[in-house]
């Protein structure tokens, strides 16, 4: 299988795929340095050669430009909501997953599998179905249009992901390791904290990454459950889109919105290495 033909094919295919993935980023990047002239004068790519670069787009979205469209505040709100909801989902989801992995529950016809399905089923329904109940509930609680309200809603969305990833991960850690820890003097909670969690680190990273990605990128609930007080980044970016869209500002804010995810991905890259996942527990 290592013939040179195969190698060439592999290279061409990967190069094609990479350009497919990277092109939109480059496009957004050049656009963010353009002015209205650069955008309307046909396809231009290279600054200083094709067009005259300008920082207007960036100045605008950072609130220092003439148009004063600020994405800093939505960025911070989004960060609060995403970090808060992801952290809580991860903590709660990990506990739930450990329970589901290690203990047998029964209530009527309900068993562990049914409970796991219940969590995952939250993600099966289209978001629209959930939006009205969520809206009414937040309204009752007086939490509409607030960061805290959004965090609660996002926990409902993110925790199933955490549970799903972590149950699988815990199931791969032999039960005998728990037993060994108990025999070595750990209470069940100590066993969980001192032995199981350290071994589940790669799983926590994966689950956390999923939570952060889904939370950060959500538009639907951020849009339906907020009005004036609170605005999250995806909503802020979309609201830039009007009859006279400032494409340079839109591109700049899109890049700002992608940046944290790239940063997080680079940060946890070593944990996503498959070897690392497999080697943790054997």
């Amino acid at each position: 299988m290592n013939s040179s033909g195969y190698k060439i094919f592999k290279f061409v295919f990967l190069a094609f795929w990479a350009s497919f993935v990277v092109a939109p980023f480059l496009w957004a990047l050049t656009t963010s340095f353009k002015t209205i002239n650069g955008v309307t004068s046909g396809a231009t790519y290279i600054p200083w050669v094709d067009y005259e670069p300008s920082l207007d787009g960036w100045r605008n979205v950072l609130g220092t430009g003439s148009q004063g469209i600020n994405v800093i505040e939505p960025f911070i709100s989004s960060a609060y909501v995403t970090i808060g909801a992801s952290a809580l989902s991860l903590v709660l989801g990990t506990f739930v997953a450990y329970g589901l992995s290690r203990f047998k529950y029964r209530a009527g016809f309900i068993r562990n599998g049914d409970i796991t399905f219940f969590f995952i089923s939250q993600r099966i329904m289209p978001p629209v179905v959930l939006s009205i109940p969520f809206f009414l509930m937040l309204q009752q609680l007086g939490l509409l249009d607030s960061i805290f309200g959004l965090i609660l809603v996002y926990i409902a969305l993110l925790m199933p992901i955490a549970v799903w990833v972590m149950v699988d991960f815990f199931n791969n850690i032999p039960k005998e390791i728990d037993e060994m820890a108990m025999l070595d003097g750990c209470s069940p909670l100590q066993t969980f904290l001192r032995v199981i969690l350290p071994n589940a680190k790669p799983g926590l990273v994966v689950a956390g990454l999923f939570c952060v990605i889904f939370g950060w990128n959500d538009f639907f609930f951020a849009f339906t459950l907020t009005f004036t007080e609170t605005q999250l980044l995806p909503v802020a970016i979309v609201s830039l889109n009007s009859s006279a869209t400032p494409w340079w500002s839109l591109s700049a804010s899109a890049l700002i919105s992608i940046a944290p995810l790239i940063f997080v991905a680079v940060l946890v890259e070593k944990y996503l290495d498959r070897g690392n996942l497999a080697g943790a527990v054997k």
Partner: protein, 369 residues
Amino acid sequence: MSIVAENINLTVDGETYLRNVSFELPNEDFFIIVGRTKAGKTTLLRLLAGLEEIDSGSLTLDGDDLTKMPPWERKVGMVYQQFINYPHLNNFENIAFPLRRAGLPEDKIAEAVNKVAAVLGVEEFLEKLPSELSGGQQQRIALARALVKDSKLLILDEPLVNLDYKLREQLREEFKNIFNDQRERLVIYSTTEPAEAMELNGTVIVMHEGEIIQIGAAEEVYNRPANTRVAEVFNDPPMNLVRGVVEGNRIHLNQDVIMALPAHLQNLAAGRYTFGIRAADINLKPDAYAAEVQLGEINGSETILHIKLGDISLVTEQEGVHQYDLGASASVDFDLNQLYVFDNNGDLLFSPATNSSFEKAMQDQEKDN
């Protein structure tokens, strides 16, 4: 300290794991549970460790109910069949884990870990992770962790079963010395191999289908198996058991195999019995009973022959490595002085007068001294 179990029963999903199990384990002794797979060995050990609950019966430690005591309060060291270590800790920390839990000072921990690591020959691996070691080395780390702590009870559940046989041979020899130094605690070891029990030389508990069928010193169980089940489980290959009839001074195994009653069975009344004889006590000898070889197996340095004398299937054992074709003919003789007799319920009636030539040799030796 003594652990007393009375009429313990355990059934899970209709499958019986333990049935009317009763025993008394005194402090500071070495017990070896011998039984085939699924005999209930693991269940019993897990019960003692607090990892299993019982349906009925009682388990007490010095009179206190042990079933209410969670595992982390029991001070039990345990080594599993599988190589179980903490994957995220290096081997030093793995061994040190129970000591840290017990809150020992750092210098005491280092001292204890290094000491036990030296005994088990794992000093050079202490900085590595368990996953970087071979199976045998991983099991040594697990044993070191079980030995290092101040436990009253040390449980080893078939610790060698997943190792290559040469490694098993080597570790068995080391274990024997280590456990003989563990006189301040109760050590319980389980195995499927009677030879392992004989070599480790402790008190044997023979289990079969969830029941304890005999408790006694290894040699005692070997020489006087309480019933046919023990005779099978505690001999490898299992003891030959043949139904026969005693008439006058003769044993009829079938119409062709008729033998005179040996001296130690002179009091045997006429009737039907089950006769037992070890594979090693059936010898190849010219001009004796004609047999057909069903299969020759090699076991370590012995050759085990499965033979048929007419309708009787028997197993014999010979020293050395020899090859036989299927269907080859052989001539065998019984060492009748080594004949066991069981009644129709399978309980032992008579065992050889001088139970094995060994015991006799040992006795002679003692006399000589």
